[in-house]
Symmetry: C2
DNA sequence: AGATCATTCAATGACTCGATTGAATGATTT
DNA sequence: AAATCATTCAATCGAGTCATTGAATGATCT
């Protein structure tokens, strides 16, 4: 970031941030870190990266101001530095979805085919929750659920869903959610449960968006590695 | 953008967009194109790039869905593809300003020193304009002004400002604006005029933000290369 | 039809980025 | 104090990016 011309330098700084977003693995890491604090190893595993590689990406994201980290015992925990980062990735998604034919096809084709119906808005879910009219289903991993989840949500990770159908009430309407607007888990849950007779829709966005909107969340400090941010 | 895993592909598409934002020259080009349609040569000149280099950047931005282009006679005119792009760059600015110490210093130091006062909000300017209480000063180039400007604005490009002081009423309050939130022209105008006894503040954001907010703008089709988008 | 002109293309060289490997660090635990 | 473990560092290689140069398009104008 060479200086002299202030405007150029500001743009250079902005470009650093944008460059940090410019790699698929890093975008995935950001989505994972948005669920709550995670160790390098945990993130590497979930993103299917080697630990060294994940560490490099994480450091780059931290230098760009997108992630923050702290030490906890012998691990380093990374988290989203700020909810403005969520707004940035959301804006990135909107532009890509609107202006890139390839992305639009992927989302319009794959995603919509799994869930023709509009998602439930956060506002609507809040209202319904107050009257206790819905069952909220969190299909993320147990660690992510433990790090924070929607009030009254039950947790069944997607891969266990087909084995644990009896835990889900068939009489009430179900709202499924996962990691974010472009996380496929909730789509898959809808695709899996609807043909089996469940009344299920998915939530707009995921847990990070819910939390960033200032809506109530539940933390469960269960001695694990994940702590509410 | 290799396929198979839909989620990976979506992230790959997002990364393409982010990569396109990941170069200072391209961010500058985006700011310039946000003022209205411009030819390759015009953009190259304003950004101080060779035509071939600018052309390459422009094509990359178009492939990423950030710019759109059309032919007009023997030139190709580029424009912002969508106002969602403005939201994206605004979000990028907010994150960089908040989380990158270098950028925060630049903006907090250089910019604020030139204008300690808070900018005038768009809402406030709208109200004041209705009562005809302010003079609006556009310090961008004549071409940019011609391509679109705020109602009742007068145009004095920054480099001519010190020679044309008599055109500016000293009795009324002045609101200066330029290309955007991180464009230095309006800051410089404030720094130049305030010591000379003018009551001057700058507008939050610039012309593109005003227009994207749905507020009224004036086009002047004067046969030049710039046409309202 | 040929000349003109804006833009794009293609090729080059310097530089940066990404993933892998194996070693180094540095805090914790025994 | 030594062992352990998560993370980071350093070196490497292949691939990709950026600016420059000069040539090639391809639409307009005479």
């Amino acid at each position: 970031m060479s200086s002299e011309n202030p405007k150029r330098s500001v743009f250079a700084g902005f470009a650093e941030v944008a460059k940090a977003l410019g790699h698929p693995h890093r975008l995935e890491i950001l989505e994972l870190a948005a669920q709550g604090e995670r160790s390098v190893e945990g993130l590497a595993e979930q993103a299917r990266l080697s630990v060294a590689n994940a560490s490099q990406h994480l450091q780059l994201l931290r230098r760009a101001g997108l992630l923050a980290s702290r030490r906890d015992g012998k691990r380093i925990l990374y988290r989203l530095s700020d909810s403005s980062v969520l707004e940035l990735t959301a804006a990135l998604g909107r532009v890509a979805e609107r202006n890139l034919a390839e992305v639009r096809e992927l989302i319009g084709g794959y995603f919509r085919e799994h869930d023709a119906l509009e998602p439930v808005t956060r506002r609507e879910l809040t209202r319904r929750l107050k009257d206790d009219l819905v069952t909220v289903l969190d299909v993320r991993s147990e660690e992510e659920f433990a790090a924070g989840h929607l009030p009254q949500a039950i947790n069944i990770p997607l891969r266990e869903l087909s084995r644990r159908l009896r835990e889900i009430p068939k009489s009430r309407e179900i709202v499924a959610y996962c990691r974010g607007a472009y996380c496929v888990l909730a789509f898959e849950a809808v695709a899996l449960l609807r043909p089996r007779g469940f009344k299920i829709r998915r939530l707009e966005g995921g847990y990070p968006e819910w939390r960033a909107a200032g809506l109530p969340v539940i933390y469960r400090q269960n001695g694990g590695a994940l702590v509410p941010a």
